[in-house]
């Protein structure tokens, strides 16, 4: 279906739809529901140098049209991801975008260097925006100079293009985007979750054991659209947009805002078939709207 085919640095995508990191594990579970080769790409769960258990439970809470999560980057660690998860995924004809996380610059560099060697990893997604880890992290996602420096270091060692995932929890997202572009990023993915919280009516205490969590789902879509709109006008690298996508209509809205591909997160939990369903609906919607190719939609809001 060439109307949906998209070329991005390192990524030749059948279609611009991919599950967002952390919302699809390493693909095993959803492979029960549909053929993963139908996806444009897969953004796998954040990988850190060492295995991590993450935060205590409860780790999720529902909010109006959204959810909070404080998983805390739980993952089996670099070694296992490279030796087990990625080889398992290689049975599918789908490029993998490896989400790379850490506490120190060194951690990021190490994971990026190793994981980018895996044959089915076609790009990295540098997670400088996870709101759910206590140490480090936060500075990478909020101080432009620090983000730029980290991007540069990772670029030096990565064998595949590097996308940087931006946090919406900043005063000036444009500044952050420009900084990572300066640092050599090949693309931007946005947005990660907004920091939020819910309290238990009976106890008065936070529902999440970690107290705060990351807000995702339809509730955040207007914030994501605004940020993609702002950033896409000032950077020269492509954007993979995300935040609240549930339908083909939402996908087009992100493209209009300036995205060149999108990721679907929370909606997978509501409907495990959401990605293939969107992929099927997109050509129909393109017909209705009078577009030949989905790329024509990119940036229409400001072009």
């Amino acid at each position: 279906m060439s109307r949906l085919h998209v070329e991005l640095p390192g990524l030749s995508l059948k279609n611009p739809i991919m599950p967002a990191s952390g919302c699809f594990g390493f693909g095993r579970e959803y492979s029960q529901f549909f053929d993963l080769s139908n996806l444009g790409a897969i953004m796998i769960k954040a990988t850190t140098a060492e295995p991590r258990f993450g935060n205590p439970t409860p780790r999720v809470a529902e909010t109006s049209a959204g959810m909070l999560n404080a998983i805390g980057l739980q993952n089996p660690g670099l070694e296992k991801v490279v030796s087990e998860e990625l080889p398992w995924l290689s049975q599918y004809d789908v490029p993998i975008i490896a989400n790379v996380a850490g506490s120190l610059e060194e951690d990021y560099v190490k994971v990026a260097q190793e994981i980018s060697k895996a044959p089915n990893v076609h790009a990295l997604e540098l997670n400088i925006s996870c709101p759910n880890v206590k140490t480090g992290g936060i500075a990478f996602g909020t101080i432009p100079e620090v983000a730029k420096q980290l991007t540069r270091r990772v670029k030096e060692v990565s064998e595949v293009p590097v996308y940087v995932k931006l946090s919406p929890n900043v005063t000036n997202i444009v500044e952050m985007a420009k900084a990572v572009e300066d640092g050599g990023a090949d693309g931007i993915t946005m947005i990660n979750t907004l920091v939020g919280m819910r309290l238990n009516l009976k106890t008065g205490k936070p529902i999440l054991a970690n107290r705060t969590g990351g807000l995702s789902g339809p509730a955040v879509k207007p914030v994501a659209i605004r940020m993609v709109y702002e950033v896409s006008q000032v950077v020269n690298i492509p954007i993979i947009g995300m935040g609240g996508i549930e339908s083909a209509e939402d996908v087009i809205e992100f493209f209009y805002a300036g995205a060149s591909a999108v990721a679907v997160g929370t909606a997978n939990f509501v409907n495990p078939f959401v990605c293939p369903e969107i992929i099927e609906q997109l050509p129909v919607l393109l017909n209705q709207l009078g577009f030949e190719h989905i790329s024509e939609c990119t940036g229409r809001s400001w072009k």
């Binding site: 579970e29 529901f33 999720v60 529902e62 049209a65 959204g66 495990p272």
Partner: protein
């Protein structure tokens, strides 16, 4: 196989204070493998509530292609669920997880089934299947108060049944553990509040025991890492089980509860 199926509501009944018994028509009954599995229900088509709700299968009928759930009307999702009428449709994902292994109880043995509150429902199908197999069951059911008691009659028909209420308004006053101390049994199956499960695990560590855990869920299928619990014997502290896809039933001693 896990299905996502639009299921028609066959009946919905209030069977105790805020406790509803809901039966749906569903082809997924053919995929149920064990009592104690659960389904993940989308209540309404909108964004409010957004997430699915995990509810245990309390009994099922393969010939009729129906299964029954029992739930407590509590927050937003279950309140909306309680307002739904027969003929209406529900989007259900299931069957999910691993239930109670009935082959761990041998013919002629006695199995103790211990349920607390909304942990009682999945034990009903278990009691049916164990009895059918030739295992004797003793049911100990704990509730907050008389108004919350349900299914006493149904369980009684399958075996010796004790009801305890926390406030003593019905049956034996006290906790299920107070009742159990005088009973003889070979193995234990239980579902209920975490403190109850913890007490059972501590007091009967020598018995073969299977416990069904509860945890807030995202995906319900093992992908989001929302529902993990730590494994008991793990030097690194990083190994875990997922309640949704490895559980909800675990062998006592397997995970930290």
């Amino acid at each position: 196989m896990i299905r996502k199926e639009i299921c028609k509501i066959i009946s919905q009944k209030l069977i105790a204070e805020n406790i509803y018994e809901l039966t749906v028509k569903a082809e997924m009954v053919h995929d149920i493998t064990e009592p104690g599995q659960f389904v993940h229900i989308r209540v309404g088509n909108g964004l409010d509530p957004l997430l699915r709700r995990p509810i245990s299968i309390s009994s099922y009928d393969v010939t009729e292609e129906q299964f029954t759930m029992i739930y407590r009307k509590d927050g937003k999702g279950t309140s909306l669920l309680a307002s739904m009428a027969p003929g209406m449709e529900l989007d259900i994902l299931g069957p999910l997880g691993n239930g109670f292994p009935i082959n761990e109880a041998n013919i002629g043995e006695t199995a103790l089934l211990v349920g607390g509150g909304i942990g009682v429902p999945p034990l009903y199908e278990l009691a049916k299947q164990l009895t059918a197999k030739g295992v004797k069951v003793i049911n100990v059911l704990g509730f907050q108060a008389e108004s919350a008691v349900f299914y006493e009659q149904e369980f009684s028909e399958l075996g010796e049944t004790y009801v305890a209420t926390a406030d003593g308004s019905y049956g034996i006053k006290g906790f299920v553990t107070d009742v159990i101390k005088d009973l003889q049994f070979d193995c234990v199956y239980s579902c209920g509040p975490t403190p109850m499960l913890r007490a059972l695990e501590q007091q009967y560590s020598h018995k073969k025991m299977f416990l069904s855990l509860e945890e807030r869920m995202g995906c319900g299928v093992g992908a989001c890492f929302a529902c993990v619990c730590k494994k008991v014997d793990d030097p690194t502290g990083a190994s875990y089980k997922k309640v949704c896809s490895d559980g909800p039933v675990f062998r006592a001693g397997e995970v930290i509860i």
